[in-house]
Subunit: 386 residues, 2 copies
């Protein structure tokens, strides 16, 4: 048994699917990770409470309206949706997870949504692609993926949908994802896997460095395939496969990053601590100068070095710092190396750019994927007027 999807027309968007109901199979188990934003939306807050009470049976998603910064009315609307759904689906309200994505600060058209749910027969299932389309906001393409891996001679499966392209016009909440596997997982491994893989994927992507009020990743296991995760080697292999899938799916968001023309993989290696590596990768990936240089296909290592150096609280030994762009050494021993070479300039024309910063003072590392900053980004994000 796999999860089933039904796309809905809730009337938030005009003549488009803007809702998705996911039927989680019996025996499945689901966990979520959601935004730490102080202004977390009503659906995020209520879903967190619900999942602490019971393992969910349904996930309901609406696009086009984030139901964030909407005060008491926002919470009332979530409760109304949950009550309507629970009586239709014959379950408890807290057995439903709800996610919303779209404009911040507007109330949901609750009467339209109520009627759409009431009139829905829930008898025609939708494909993964149709489901991915229903949760899009300003995404340029639907984001969905299925992948099969082999562990200990057994085929295991992952599939998922996500949406996100930055926080945009006028205020779109960034990122939602639903991921499912058939690998049998106990609560502990489930939690471990979701946290580990999210850190390497959805928490390691950067389009514009802004954190949304609605981010949520849900992870479901249908508990159908047992690969003996008590075996440490198998567990390690499983986490490798799972993180590969999470990264594959989350990379689609960077690729769709508003106006993005390039995906940049930034690896900070041999750092004294993981925290330091994370701070550095975030700082550099947020640098407008680095992002515009990438867009301009300019191997502008000086901007990366200046951004690194601006983290003056960190222990960095300048003489040990090595910077590689597309595997070409640009900076070491405190001075420029091959930075002006034709080979390097040529390599900048690729769609995927790889930056390695070797700090040379420890054993920790952090990888992060980010997009460049283009004319299109400014266009998309500035041209909305009320």
């Amino acid at each position: 048994m796999k999860s089933k999807f039904i796309t809905l027309q809730l009337g938030i968007k005009k003549n488009k699917t803007d809702g998705l109901l996911i039927f989680l199979p019996d025996n499945s188990y689901t966990q979520i990770i959601s935004t730490l934003n102080k202004f977390a939306a009503a659906p995020v807050i209520i879903s967190k409470k619900n999942i602490s009470k019971a393992n969910p049976k349904y996930i309901f998603i609406n696009s086009g309206n984030a139901n964030a910064c909407t005060g008491k009315e926002g919470f009332d609307n979530v409760n109304k949706i949950l009550e309507t759904l629970s009586s239709k689906l014959n379950c408890k309200t807290h057995e439903i997870i709800i996610m919303s994505t779209g404009i911040i600060g507007r109330q949901l058209p609750i009467e339209k949504i109520y009627k759409a749910i009431i009139n829905q027969k829930f008898n025609k299932y939708s494909s993964l692609k149709e489901s991915a389309i229903a949760i899009m906001t300003t995404d340029k393409f639907p984001k969905y993926k299925t992948k099969t891996y082999t562990i200990a001679s057994k085929k295991i499966h992952f599939r998922g949908i996500c949406k996100g392209a930055g926080m945009i016009e006028p205020n779109m909440a960034t990122m939602l994802a639903f991921i499912e596997t058939d690998v049998k997982l106990d609560k502990k491994n489930m939690k471990k896997c979701l946290q580990y893989c999210s850190n390497l994927s959805f928490n390691s992507i950067s389009v514009d460095g802004d954190m949304s009020t609605n981010d949520c990743v849900s992870f479901t296991t249908t508990n159908t395939i047992d690969i003996n995760l008590n075996n440490q080697k198998i567990l390690t292999k499983f986490l490798e496969c799972a993180s590969d899938f999470f990264i594959t799916l989350s990379s689609l968001i960077v690729k769709d990053g508003e106006g993005a023309t390039k995906v940049i993989e930034l690896n900070v290696i041999n750092s004294k601590s993981l925290t330091a590596a994370q701070q550095i990768s975030r700082k550099i990936s947020h640098s407008l100068l680095v992002k515009t240089a990438m867009y301009g296909e300019d191997p502008n290592w000086g901007r990366i070095i200046a951004s690194l150096g601006s983290l003056n609280d960190l222990t960095i030994d300048i003489s040990k710092v090595k910077l590689f762009i597309n595997d070409i050494l640009c900076f070491s021993d405190g001075i420029p190396k091959d930075a002006g070479s034709k080979k390097l300039s040529q390599s900048m024309k690729k769609n995927n750019i790889k930056i390695i910063i070797d700090l040379g003072i420890g054993k920790h590392s952090q990888s992060l994927y980010f997009s460049d900053l283009s004319h299109e980004y400014v266009h998309i994000n500035s041209e909305y007027t009320t």
Copy 2:
């Protein structure tokens, strides 16, 4: 006696002034604040040492080349310039402060500079404007200012030059400033004034959130006017005037911020701590979404609130947060207020935008000036190719 300026043609830029020698008067006293970047340029590091040894007699500035990330040769070149100047000017090498601004990672054309200094007669003084022009890199206009204030019935004077427009094409070091007053200041008050005023001005402006390898503010008093700063009231008044001057001068940099069309004044008030207020103002002023919204003249308060909320380590009571744009209340009690009003939209067309975030939980506040993010910014910062 005031400082005197001589602009120079060092041969770094083609047929343009690219050097400035400042003759600090006898009895003057000078202090500097410089970048905390780990990759601070050779001139910054040597100037810090010099000023710890002696009160400077001269300041030498070159534009067009930052002499940053240039290794041992970079330091050797600074020493060569200092030796050449000191023998010409008959002073000790450590009595000269040296600042450089321009491209990162290239060696200075030291032979040209050496010859230019040797052949210089140092007999024709330059105006403040000419001096400001000589230190420009990608600045669109020269930045200089003189201002007179009255304290305790005495006229006091400030004048200054600065340069800076972001860190740019290909790698320009951001910001240099020379400020002079005639108010008599002891070491303690000098330090206090420079730190206090820089925090309110040069440390509170943001074009792109990047910190350069070469930033340096120097502050000189000619010690000619005594206004009895032992009197607490007079000291307070003096600090007000001084910070007004620092802010006036530094605002020119925001105004010239690469491609900037607006100067945004962000006031975070009633914060629990100063650190929190600073963190919030920096986070919001660096938000690409906020910056592009300002460019698009979009009163997009949701982006400001989402950016504030993303600082999840801070104590923020959502129900107490009030957000004003151009003195119009947009958000309070956790919900939107006048955000959709025509009056608000109209007000966004102004060149100067004012944002107030009232946290309502303390007594600390922080003001910061930042620029918007325009097409022109992306254009300037991406179109350089090696």
